[in-house]
């Protein structure tokens, strides 16, 4: 068997007799051994398995979600009645800033990426995510960034200038101490983690799909994550740059945002919102993919209009980059420019509308079954469409100039974020919980969970539209009784109690089901996509054999004796690399073994990030440790791998 420099080997297509049970058992044992997850204390830090990292990511994001929820509860207590003294302004400002920051940076984006980390390799039919060590590194960087800002909060040094930290308020002159530095550096932590995962997703989706999964057979959830990954790649550099400028202004005296020395306060807003608007689509587009997966499964029909759905995902991704100035309508920019941004902000509803209409069409022609995941999808439709419509009104400059920075906007973005992203996410967790844990969540508790959250959500946030009309601005730690805002605020706080109950109910259901839920089996829902083809939870190698995909709906189009790939080595971590368009096999590739080095590198990186908040010396001091950990990470195995790589150097004349 020769493996050439790319041209000589080609896959062989032939039909062989069915392998016997003994051979299958041997294969299973060997794959388990090859792909084993390292055990023990040190092993926990060295894991590069995408399912393990995905579970950790999801669990960690949920802890941050609960923290964000507690912060919201504190806000609602303070605002329940006028002139309240529960939280003074300094504490309140830290609380609302942390609520937004934790929710947006430590929960919303990471949890969506986490779902992708877990599901995408399974859905495309491969054994692990691309660049698994980078995946591990990314998780720890995210974790340490989150820990940093929570610790900052516990020592009364939480950021307090809002989750988008406008300058000059967050600059060196108006925020003393390190609060804004922790915030800006949190951006760096979370963006590094997110960018790493985004690159992995692109590489996995483009190059590691199972044979037969051509572009037009990619599941809609995978498409949504691919679009999201591209958005992350193009959007995040702006905020990395912007937050770096802020850190430099604060630490070493640069003048990017100092109008007195040629800098510009609006520069921050442009840089932040160029990222910030795509950011909300980064959160929302994965949810669109989740909804498609759930609707297909719970109507037992393919989603109506696959091509239109894919195109609208892509269109949303593109158009989302052209809207950012709608956050800046009140800043006095020229009118003509603003009109363009109004039009763009309206037009983006069209692809979202396509999605909604196609789902309704799917429900129309399918056989809907209202299990809990589907209930959350219905809730999503009811809530998100309202949020989308309030967004359309916000696109109008004159109207926005009245409701901008009021509770109307708070209502809008909670409708689209909670309704448009969290409801699908909860539904998705109910949906994929059996796959991840092997057990079903309680359906009875699920229905109760849905109603608590749905009613709680609307009671909390609908009144805020009205509060906005009545002139209540955002980010106020209290308000006078004469304004008449008290009753609706009290109603909102009452709704928040229900929301908390709903959150607690979800955690209770999850924990109880994890321990004692009904055993799920491989495919409890009769699902459409490939993850349902393997056990629940999937074995550490995902699939015994890499499948060959026979249609757009991997499970529903599968023949009785499903065709599979053979010839991948099972004695090393070999995966199949296929081509971008048609997923034809191109070459086999040995993924790296688990390693402690990505974790060690994340420690050094985090120390560097935190250190540079306090001194520029952090940079020179970190260079050597960073280099050492990176060398440890990338240095190839000491003994040539006789199994995967060629052991010898080839002579020059062996041309391909």
């Amino acid at each position: 068997m020769e493996s050439g420099s790319g041209q000589s080997g080609a896959p062989v297509e032939r039909v062989e007799p069915y392998p016997d049970a003994a051979a299958e058992a041997r294969l299973r044992r060997q794959l388990e051994e090859t792909w084993h997850v390292p055990a023990g204390f040190l092993g926990w830090f060295a894991v590069t398995d995408h399912r393990t990292i995905g579970r950790r990511y999801i669990a960690t994001a949920f802890v941050f979600f609960l923290i964000g929820g507690v912060l919201a509860a504190l806000m609602r207590i303070q605002l329940a009645v006028p002139d309240n003294h529960f939280l003074g302004p300094d504490l309140y400002n830290q609380v609302f800033t942390m609520h937004g920051t934790v929710m947006m940076f430590l929960f919303a984006v990471p949890v969506m990426e986490a779902m992708a980390v877990y599901l995408v390799p399974l859905m495309v039919g491969t054994r692990n995510i691309a660049f698994p060590r980078l995946n591990t590194f990314s998780y720890f960087v995210y974790l340490f960034g989150g820990i940093m800002v929570i610790v900052a909060m516990l020592v009364n040094s939480a950021p307090d200038a809002g989750w988008f930290a406008y300058v000059p308020l967050s600059g060196p002159d108006y925020t003393p101490g390190k609060r804004a530095d922790f915030w800006a550096q949190l951006i760096t932590f979370t963006e590094v983690a997110a960018l790493a995962v985004a690159v992995e997703i692109v590489a996995t989706v483009f190059k590691m799909r199972a044979p037969g999964m051509s572009l037009n057979r990619i599941p809609l959830f995978v498409w949504s994550m691919l679009v999201t990954a591209f958005m992350i790649i193009f959007a995040m550099p702006a905020v990395v740059l912007g937050s770096t400028f802020l850190l430099l202004d604060r630490l070493v005296g640069t003048h990017f945002y100092n109008p007195a020395e040629g800098g510009d306060a609006l520069l921050w807003q442009h840089l932040f919102w160029f990222f910030g608007h795509p950011e909300v689509y980064i959160i929302f587009v994965p949810a669109l993919g989740m909804v498609s997966a759930i609707v297909a499964t719970f109507t037992q029909r393919p989603i109506f209009g696959y091509r239109a759905m894919v195109l609208s995902l892509v269109a949303t991704g593109f158009i989302g980059f052209g809207l950012w100035v709608h956050h800046m309508f009140a800043t006095g920019l020229p009118q003509l420019g603003l009109t363009y941004f109004t039009a763009a902000s309206m037009i983006i509803s069209i692809p979202s509308g396509v999605q909604i209409f196609c789902w309704i069409a799917s429900i129309w022609r399918g056989h809907p079954r209202l299990a809990t995941p589907m209930l959350f999808v219905l809730g999503f439709i009811a809530i998100f469409v309202l949020g989308g419509l309030s967004g359309v009104t916000l696109a109008s400059v004159p109207f926005d100039l009245q409701v901008h920075d009021t509770y109307y906007v708070v209502a809008h973005f909670h409708y689209v974020l909670l309704g448009g992203a969290v409801f699908p996410l909860i539904g998705a967790l109910y949906f994929w919980f059996p796959k991840i844990t092997g057990r079903m969540m309680s359906e009875r508790l699920g229905v109760l969970n849905f109603w608590t959250l749905f009613i709680g959500f609307n009671v909390t946030f609908f009144p805020m539209h009205i509060l906005g009309f009545q002139g209540m601005p955002r980010r106020v730690y209290t308000y006078p009784a004469e304004m008449g805002w008290g009753p609706l605020n009290l109603v909102a706080t009452a709704g928040a109690v229900l929301l908390i109950a709903g959150g607690a109910l979800f955690v209770f259901n999850a924990v109880r089901s994890y321990v004692a839920g009904t055993i799920a089996g491989d495919d409890p829902w009769h699902g459409e996509t490939l993850e349902w083809a393997t056990a629940s939870p999937p074995p550490v190698y995902n699939f015994l054999h890499i499948p060959v995909i026979e249609g757009r709906h991997a499970m529903w189009d599968r023949s009785l004796a499903p065709p599979v790939v053979t010839g991948l080595r099972s004695d090393c971590r070999e995966v199949l690399i296929t081509d971008v368009m048609g997923a034809e096999p191109v070459h086999a590739y040995e993924l790296p073994e688990p390693s402690i080095w990505p974790f060690l590198c994340s420690i050094v990186t985090s120390a560097f990030f935190v250190g540079s908040i306090f001194t520029p010396w952090a940079l020179p001091v970190s260079i050597l440790p960073l280099t050492v950990t990176l060398i440890g990470w990338f240095w190839p195995k000491p003994h040539p791998n006789l199994r995967g790589d060629q052991p010898l150097v080839r002579p020059v004349e062996a041309e391909g």
Partner: protein, 200 residues
Amino acid sequence: MSSRPVIDVSPLPKFAFGHKGLIWWGTTGFMVIEGSMFVMALIVYFYLRLKVDQWPPSLPNPDIGFATANLLLILASCLPNAFAKKAAERFDLGKVRLWLVVLSLIGVVALVLRAFEYTQLNCRWDDNAYGSIVWLLLSLHTVHVATDVVDGAVLTALMFIGPVTDRRFVDVSENSLYWYFIVAWWIPIYLTIYFAPRWL
């Protein structure tokens, strides 16, 4: 249900150069990310330029001596870079070692020249917004050069120390790709820092 093997991938190679392989996608992904940052930084430069009448504001233009020498050096480095890439794709270890050493030396010289460039900028990062963005643009690029020089040095060492396998040659090819990226971005950054104040 039992499965039915229909494709045997064992004859396939274990690696591939360029976009057929997996690593290229990682490298390209990071090039797009860094490239987006460079684009943004350049846009910021011109955004700040348009806010004032005089540019640089009350400061002299940067001197172009060392910068131009550096530009010519790293443009010239494209040649050994191309040789390294081609040698890697031919699995010619001897040539790969040679050109990697040459590139490492060039990289070190480029960094030294870059250090002198800083002294010729005729501004400090904390003078005003102009000084800030000029230092930032230069430093953004310098970080990339430095990282790639260290990276390249480690790779060079690896090609001498071993183990050298086919996939190492793919690494050399990817490394060359990244060096092209760094060279290419120097051109607009050089023109912006050193000639925008003179031409605009």
